[in-house]
């Protein structure tokens, strides 16, 4: 753990060198316009990159999406990406609209979807999350969303919901799962991405667009499937900061592959505090004073 902490600290220092404005806790988040704002994480496209694990993956973020239909132009909205590298294969957390309802989804491209061919496992929220979406002027809370995949099951977790899962009422967190129906484990598939640009991105998809409107903060990728015990611990961390070394029981930091805290609050970069995939604020993506810690 200490070696890991030192490594994270070292990486943080390196990242700080990239973004001299970095200061913790600056308590800012990313601000996205839903038109073309996106944060593209540098050099994260090649196969074998740490953000392209094949056996298991977890992806989390704090999100405060603004309502899609608040001014009556919802009819053509379909999808808005929170983060990921999905093109053909890959993985992503996103919002998807069905009529007047918005669902949250976690898709993982797998080498075999049970039919012997590549496909996707998609975990969908068991009910719409409309009431978790911010309005045009109100200041709704951030929510923590997490997708995990262990080689068999893609599971979606979303803070703030009380749902029935597996026949039991849970404390409002795990809200959907998709099981691989074949002989498992299967692997996360990137092979079909070919020459397409498949950098890890936040706020939209490099290839598809599908930009989100709202705030995103504290995006993290692990090259492992977080265990429920680890998730329970992380849920209780306030403020949410994966660089903290005083989080009891947290033992997945060795698999932490990328972490963007959006705490710089100025400039055009948000550092990857674990790796080297610096996030480049593109097309006008900027900063918001809103953050999960203050509830705004």
């Amino acid at each position: 753990m200490l070696g890991l902490a030192a490594n994270i600290q070292s990486q943080a220092q390196a990242s700080a060198a990239v973004s001299a404005a970095y200061q913790y806790p600056a308590n800012t988040s990313g601000d996205f316009d839903g038109v073309n704002d996106i944060v593209i994480c540098q050099n994260s496209a090649p196969a074998g990159h740490v953000l392209k694990p094949t056996g298991a993956v977890s992806l989390s973020a704090h999100i405060r999406p603004h309502a899609w239909d608040y001014q009556g132009y919802s009819s053509s909205f379909s999808k808005a990406y929170i983060a990921g590298n999905i093109v053909t294969g890959g993985y992503a957390l996103y919002l998807e609209q069905d009529g007047t309802d918005t669902y949250i989804k976690w898709s993982v491209g797998v080498a075999d979807d049970g039919t012997g061919s590549p496909g996707y496992l998609t975990a969908t929220s068991t009910e719409p999350i409309n009431d978790n979406l911010d309005g045009p002027t109100s200041t709704g809370p951030f929510r923590w969303v997490l997708g995990t995949f262990d080689g068999n099951t893609a599971t979606l977790w979303f803070e703030g919901r009380t749902t029935v899962y597996g026949g039991t009422t849970e404390a409002g967190f795990r809200i959907g799962a998709a099981n691989y129906p074949g002989s498992y484990p299967t692997t996360i598939d990137y092979t079909q991405q070919g020459t397409q640009v498949t950098e890890f991105a936040i706020g939209g998809s490099v290839q598809h667009g599908d930009y989100i409107r709202g705030n995103i903060d504290d995006v993290a990728v692990w090259s492992s499937c977080l265990a429920e015990s680890e998730i329970d611990v992380l849920r209780g961390v306030d403020p949410f900061d994966l660089r903290r070394t005083d989080i009891p029981g947290y033992n997945s930091a060795s698999s932490l592959a990328g972490f963007w805290s959006f705490d710089e609050g100025q400039g055009l970069q948000t550092a990857d505090l674990v790796g080297s995939a610096t996030g480049i604020l593109t097309n006008g993506a900027t900063w918001s004073a809103n953050n999960p810690a203050d509830g705004s």
Partner: protein, 78 residues
């Protein structure tokens, strides 16, 4: 929400060479094009750059409405 101060201008793809990218939020490589690849747009804050004078400016709300109207040809099929 900084984007409430943005102004968006749709231009023809053939006009990209006239864009002073130091005056807009986009880079040449990050422009979003419509499905026919013959239109794109740029956004800016504050004073209108000279090369955009005389062109229709849209608010954030108007631009979202335009882009998400499937009849306008900007939505991609995943």
């Amino acid at each position: 929400m900084a984007y409430n101060n943005y102004k968006y201008v749709i231009i023809n793809a053939s006009e990209v060479s006239d864009v002073d990218f130091s005056k807009v939020k986009e880079d040449r490589s990050s422009l979003r094009y419509n499905n026919d690849k013959d239109k794109t747009f740029v956004k800016f804050e504050g004073e209108t750059p000279d090369f955009l004078n005389g062109k229709t400016q849209y608010t954030h709300k108007e631009m979202l409405h335009y882009l998400n109207d499937s009849t306008n040809g900007w939505l991609l099929e995943d």
